[in-house]
């Protein structure tokens, strides 16, 4: 109750979130395994995931997560209209972007942070497309992809979550994102300075899953 009340004070007045974008690299698949199966049927937001993958192989993410998730799971296709309550994975060797519609769009532009798909590319285009109707989540990883993207989501008024680096098998990625914000205590909801949106929520995988469920119960997701 306490957490929920504290959380509500951080919710922008804009209303429910239309999408959750999740980025991760090394060590993130175990976290996805905590988060994604607990997303409830009837989720009002689309869920779009970029995970760094080997470029030259077919991704197994859909095969892994489809049987474990309540939501429909698919690999993103170009020009596909984004549907609420659906879960999309970026295909290997393509950047995934949000275009007007909203639709999914792919590109083979140069890798960013040696990564294609790049988390920054998804997050920045999602921030453009969804503005403050977006939740951004950055997970475990060994490079700094996603830090600029998460900052862009934050600047657009979105709701940002960073995996607690202490809980990450590779803390570089969450730490790089948090380095762009004032220091804060893990697990504690960041304080809201007047005129400025709060810094990212720093949460363990379990707590991120619980936060999704809670936001859904509040009809925000």
């Amino acid at each position: 109750m306490n957490a929920s009340a504290a959380h509500a004070s951080n919710t922008p007045a804009g209303g429910p979130y239309q999408a959750i974008v999740i980025g991760g690299s090394s060590g993130a698949i175990d976290v996805l395994n905590v988060l994604l199966p607990r997303l409830p049927v009837g989720l009002r937001a689309a869920v779009i995931v970029v995970l760094h993958l080997p470029r030259d192989r077919r991704s197994l993410l859909v095969d892994i997560f489809r049987p474990r998730c309540a939501l429909p799971v698919q690999e993103a296709e170009d020009q596909q209209p984004i549907q609420a309550g659906h879960l999309y994975f970026a295909p290997p060797d393509y950047h995934l972007l949000i275009d007007s519609g909203p639709r999914l769009a792919l590109s083979v532009d140069a890798p960013l942070h040696f990564s294609r798909p790049s988390i920054d590319v998804l997050f920045e285009s999602a921030a453009d497309g969804y503005g403050d109707k977006l939740v951004g989540v950055l997970l475990s990883g060994a490079n700094d992809d996603g830090a600029a993207g998460l900052a862009a989501i934050h600047a657009a008024g979105g709701y940002t979550i960073v995996q607690d680096p202490a809980s990450a098998s590779m803390p570089t990625m969450p730490e790089a994102a948090l380095a762009r914000f004032p220091r804060q205590t893990p697990g504690k909801t960041p304080s809201n300075t007047p005129g400025k949106t709060p810094a990212p929520h720093v949460l363990t995988p379990e707590a991120i899953a619980a936060r999704f469920v809670q936001l859904h119960a509040q009809r925000l997701l």
Binding site: Q79, D99, E124, G129
Partner: protein, 279 residues
């Protein structure tokens, strides 16, 4: 200024810049997928020392050299030779046997950029004994990319990956048979180029120029919005001979397109389609 206002202004500036480019230089990016374009334009701002797209628009209109530079940002695609080896393997195993039945073969590589795919196809057709009766039209809107493609010169440090792809694509020869290494570059054999015609062509504004048996257009349509995708696919339909073949990128499909009904799936997992009979 609130973030929403800034974002709206940036969208307006992007539309105005693309209008300006179209009216002054007749390159039409207005129906390109805007999210990718936006990323490229943002990196161009740094390159041209502009703070906003409005400033860039001013320079683009008044300094043609700036437009030429910007065109590189907007259009150049770097691909690998034999990218997605299974596509080339499927062409080799499924499409080549049918191409073999024609006395002369025409192939169109639409959006060839710096030529990696053109040389890949030429080598594949040479290995299959078909290059001598084949003409490959390679088109792009970027004159610099076309010139680079025509030269057939690639960085040596990319060749290891090309070689591995070529082997996985069922290559019957050694890739090194087709190039000469010079310092940090490799130059592909001139004999391949005798079967290639490079030409400026826009899928957004130009029309069909030849009748062809196979069109390969990979990872080009993903940069277009749906209407422009439909236009390009319509051109492909018109350019193909009866029962001709169309190959797309591994994540492109006809599924969301108005042209879907005019093509049969041929090798669906490798995005190879065949024009339906009777039209």
């Amino acid at each position: 200024m609130p973030h929403k206002t800034k974002a709206r202004i940036a969208d307006i500036e992007q539309r105005l810049l693309l209008d300006a480019i179209y009216h002054q230089y007749h390159y039409d990016f207005r129906a390109y997928a805007q999210a990718s374009l936006k990323r490229r334009l943002q990196s161009a701002l740094t390159q041209f020392s502009c703070k906003t797209l409005s400033q860039l628009q001013d320079r683009v209109l008044h300094e043609p050299a700036v437009f030429t530079g910007l065109l590189q940002y907007l259009t150049v695609q770097v691909s690998d030779m034999f990218r997605d080896p299974s596509y080339f393997l499927a062409l080799r195993n499924e499409v080549v046997p049918i191409l073999r039945t024609y006395p002369s073969i025409k192939v169109w590589v639409a959006g060839c950029s710096t030529g990696e795919e053109v040389y890949s196809l030429a080598i594949l057709l040479h290995e299959e004994g078909l290059l001598d009766r084949t003409l490959i039209y390679a088109t792009d809107i970027n004159p610099h990319a076309l010139r680079a493609a025509e030269q057939g010169v690639f960085d040596l440090d990319r060749v290891a990956a090309f070689t591995e792809n070529h082997a996985r694509a069922g290559g019957r020869s050694s890739l090194s048979d087709y190039y000469t290494a010079r310092y940090s570059r490799v130059v592909f054999d001139k004999a391949l180029r005798e079967h290639m015609v490079f030409s400026d062509h826009s899928l957004a504004t130009d029309s069909v120029f030849a009748e062809v048996h196979l069109i390969s257009c990979r990872n080009v349509l993903i940069y277009f919005e749906r209407d422009l995708q439909n236009r390009a696919l319509g051109l492909f339909h018109d350019a193909l001979v009866h029962r001709g073949f169309l190959g797309l990128g591994s994540k492109e499909s006809l599924r969301f397109s108005a042209q879907a009904e005019h093509f049969d799936d041929f090798v669906l997992e490798d995005r190879i389609y065949r024009k339906k009979a009777g039209r």
